[in-house]
Symmetry: C2
Subunit: 130 residues, 2 copies
């Protein structure tokens, strides 16, 4: 992975933000520094950087992908009105969890989305390992 001024600018802007921006939000920021950068370059670098583990691509709902310079394991809270995404501190324990999150973020907590991830029996069989 070569070091280019485009890649540096993209990573630098993402690191400065705590807003978990989408590719085109980031493009708008970076363009101020490098006016000739293309949106494709932003997409390509976000892909490369997340593949290399430098950043993470958030696996959230919504039509646009979001990116995060913090690769640590942490959770997020998203506003169902404006789509804003904020960080949550790690551990938390379900029952009093909503109240704690509300207190920590100022959000009115309406619920949470939980989706388990794994390998289904059919796919597990294909690769031997179950």
């Amino acid at each position: 992975m070569r070091k280019t001024k485009q890649r540096e600018a993209i990573l630098d802007e993402l690191t400065k933000l705590c807003t978990h921006p989408s590719a085109d939000e980031l493009y708008g920021r970076v363009k101020k520094r490098l006016p000739r950068i293309s949106l494709g370059t932003v997409y390509r670098n976000l892909e490369t950087l997340s593949r290399e583990g430098v950043i993470q691509r958030l696996d959230t709902a919504g039509s646009q992908k979001r990116f995060d310079a913090d690769t640590g394991d942490h959770r997020h809270i998203r506003c169902i009105r404006c789509g804003r995404i904020d960080d949550l501190a790690a551990g938390a324990d379900r029952a009093r969890c909503d109240a704690r999150v509300a207190k920590g973020t100022g959000y009115r907590v309406l619920g949470r989305r939980v989706e388990y991830l794994g390998v289904c029996p059919a796919c597990g069989r294909k690769t031997g390992r179950r």
Copy 2:
């Protein structure tokens, strides 16, 4: 909401499936019964039916939206290989939860995605109610 043969066929096919299909998967099924139906009609009806609370639009990650005829509150497990989504029984309690899910579904559980939903302070202020 008028009763049309297109709407009936779409709802009927969705109800028969436990696979949480996307709009175009459903379109493929329904087309066998109504060969002249258009994809737009499938999209429009899935939207109408979920707005009326007859079905639910799943708020999962991934590029395509998924739909579920079961409007009850339940969780899902998705395969990171093939994208398949299966149902989970409701309640579950975190620690021994993964093991229980694995036992119940046959999946090799690798993790879970948790996203809290709510109204951020800025949006809450706009509508008075916090």
